[in-house]
Amino acid sequence: MLFLLFQLGQDRYALEARRVVEVLPLLALRPLPQAPESVAGIFYYRGQQVPAVDLCQLTLGRPAESRLSTRIIIVNYLDARGVGHWVGLVAERVTEVLRKKPTDFVGPGVSIKAAPYLGPVLLDHEGAVQWIYEQRLLPDPVSDILFSQSALWAQS
């Protein structure tokens, strides 16, 4: 099973590669007014408006650093109604892939309700890599704001 690795600050995380639509460089984002801080803005991908969520902002409370290795990972997100939406995740150091078995990851031992997206942890020679469940990344209010709108657009 292939995982896409990225960093948020000093910590390493991994996403399941099958869930990734495409990795894009950090495009110019159009800010979205009245949006939560974690929503960095929206961009256009294959003719669609796609929201971009800053994972750094979401987890560490600071915007991601503006570097070449800071990239946008487009994933397919299923909302509460089961409708799939493209979401851009802004993360740092998106440069590596890692092939591991899912059993190589072990449970964290603790479960934090405020961060349901944190999965089990893999330990290798460089340290720990925590599995991120992309489907649980967005809190409900944010998801509502983002995808009700897009649902409206989709309906229209």
Binding site: A17, R18, E22, V23, L24
Partner: protein, 534 residues
């Protein structure tokens, strides 16, 4: 009594002596003349006798020669010889008759010989000569017949004549002898007279001089009373009168001298006082001049010290000036070097700027490389993801994607290193630029302050030069002052010398006054003695 002056007496005596001398000379000349005349006469007489004898012999010889020789040869010369002998005989006889007319005996003998010659001897000869011309044999006969008688006759006459001539000669000589004796007697008389005259004159002069010296001796002793008239040699009137007048004048003079001595005494006293005053004044002047000389000497020494000091100061200023000049030159050199340094710094700065620019370009290239690597990385990621989605079909593609990703990773790492290196270099260059800029600024400021210092040094040098010139003028004026002081010193010395000399003169004049005083007193004593004896 008739009086003669000394001059008249002397002249008379001299004239008398001259007359006697002239007379003696005339007498001596006369005697010598008489002796000479007598000698001439005697000589003439003896010569004449011999010549007459010789003439007769010549006549006889001529006649005999005529008779013995042939008529053709020498007859003419024999005749002319006889004729000349005849005429000589007659001329000699006439001379003797004319020379001694006052001797009757001689005249008689001459006349008888002449008569014999004219009447007997000459006609015989003529006759024989005529016969010899015509008939030599008859002539010889005639000659032989009369010759002996004629010979005897004329020899007797010649002997007579000779005797008479000797007599006349002797009488002449005795006469001359008598006259010579008389002349000598006259000369002796004149000499005796002259001696007597000289003797009498000298004795009278000696007597007069003796009396005059005695009179003077009396006068020397102060006796003016005795009159020369009473003396035996009173005929020298002028001298006597002179002596009398001299005595009277001397008597009067003694009185005057007494008065004068008193005056001299008083004057000498006054003069002595004045001299004392002058001497003290001269001493004052001398001491004042000496003090002034000392002061002038001190001033001269002071001014010499001052000159020395000023020269030292002037030399020091000159040295400082030269040092400052050297310093200025060195400063100028430093300034030039600094200027070059500033220029070099500027050029270095510019080069560093260019380097920085190049580094910036390098940065751009690196960025491009980084972008390429980034794109490659992104591409490999997406490829890997797509291969995963493809499942079994995408395995080979996944390998390629992995390789691409590794390559991009290596590129990224290398680029990262390069970027770091270039960034470090860039930082160093920027630091260098900054440092150089600061250094350049500092150098520029240093140059400005150096230039300022140079200007100030130049001003200082100018002032030093002015000061040096002023030192020179001060030195000149002080020199002039020193020369003045030296002149003053010399003048003071001369004044001092003059004062010393005048003091010396005064001392000498004091001594002279003392002597004058003594002389006046001696004179007074002598005069008093004279007055007492009068």
């Amino acid at each position: 009594m008739k009086r003669f002056t000394i001059w008249q007496r002397m002249m008379a005596t001299l004239l008398l002596l001259l007359l006697l001398l002239v007379g003696a000379m005339g007498l001596a000349l006369w005697v010598a003349q008489i002796r000479l005349t007598a000698a001439q006469h005697s000589e003439q007489l003896s010569t004449a006798g011999q010549r007459i004898y010789a003439d007769v012999l010549r006549m006889n010889e001529a006649l005999r020669g005529l008779l013995l020789e042939p008529p053709s040869e020498g007859a003419q010369s024999g005749r002319s010889d006889a004729a000349s002998a005849e005429s000589d005989l007659l001329a000699n006889l006439s001379d003797l008759q004319r020379g001694f007319p006052d001797q009757p005996a001689l005249t008689g003998a001459l006349r008888s010989f002449r008569e014999f010659a004219e009447r007997t001897l000459l006609p015989f000869d003529h006759r024989v000569m005529e016969l010899a011309g015509t008939d030599p044999v008859a002539a010889r006969t005639e000659y032989g017949k009369n010759r002996a008688a004629l010979q005897d006759q004329h020899e007797a006459l010649l002997a007579n004549l000779e005797r008479e001539l000797d007599l006349v000669k002797n009488s002449e000589l005795s006469h001359a002898q008598g006259l010579f004796a008389a002349g000598l007697a006259g000369l002796l008389l004149i000499v005796i007279t002259a001696l007597f005259l000289a003797r009498s004159q000298s004795s009278s002069w000696a007597r007069l001089l003796y009396h005059a010296s005695a009179r003077v001796e009396r006068m020397r002793r102060g006796d003016f009373t005795e009159d020369v008239d009473s003396e035996p040699t009173a005929d020298f009137g002028a001298l006597t009168d002179g002596f009398n007048r001299l005595a009277a004048d001397l008597s009067q003079l003694v009185g005057q001298v007494q008065l004068s001595v008193a005056e001299v005494d008083a004057t000498s006293h006054d003069l002595s006082k004045t001299t004392d005053h002058q001497q003290s004044a001269a001493q004052d002047v001398e001491s004042a001049a000496s003090q002034a000389e000392t002061a002038a000497g001190k001033i001269a020494a002071g001014s010499n010290d001052l000159i020395h000091t000023i020269k030292e100061a002037s030399r020091t200023v000159d040295q400082s000036w030269q040092l400052a000049g050297d310093g200025q030159a060195a400063l100028t050199g430093i300034e030039a070097t600094m200027s070059q340094l500033v220029e070099a710094t500027g050029s270095l700065e510019a080069k560093l700027g260019a380097l920085s620019e190049k580094a910036a370009h390098l940065d751009g290239a690196i960025t491009a490389i980084v972008k390429v690597a980034d794109q490659t990385n992104l591409l490999s990621l997406n490829a890997a993801i797509e291969a995963e989605k493809a499942g079994e079909y995408g395995l080979g593609f996944a390998v390629v994607a992995t390789e691409i990703r590794r390559l991009s990773d290596q590129t990224a790492v290398a680029t990262n290193d390069l970027e770091k290196m270039i960034k470090g270099m860039h930082g160093l260059i920027l630091d260098g630029v900054t440092t150089i800029g600061k250094f350049s600024e500092g150098t520029r400021e240093s140059l400005q302050s150096l230039s300022h210092a140079g200007t100030q040094l130049a001003q200082s040098i100018e002032q030093m030069r002015k000061i040096s010139g002023q030192f020179q003028s001060v030195l000149e004026s002080v020199n002039a002052q020193a020369a003045d002081v030296q002149r003053l010193n010399r003048t003071m010395e001369q004044l001092n010398e003059a004062a010393r000399q005048s003091a010396e003169t005064l001392r000498q004049s004091t001594v002279g006054l003392g002597k004058l005083n003594g002389a006046a007193r001696d004179l007074q004593t002598s005069v008093l003695r004279l007055a007492r004896s009068k």
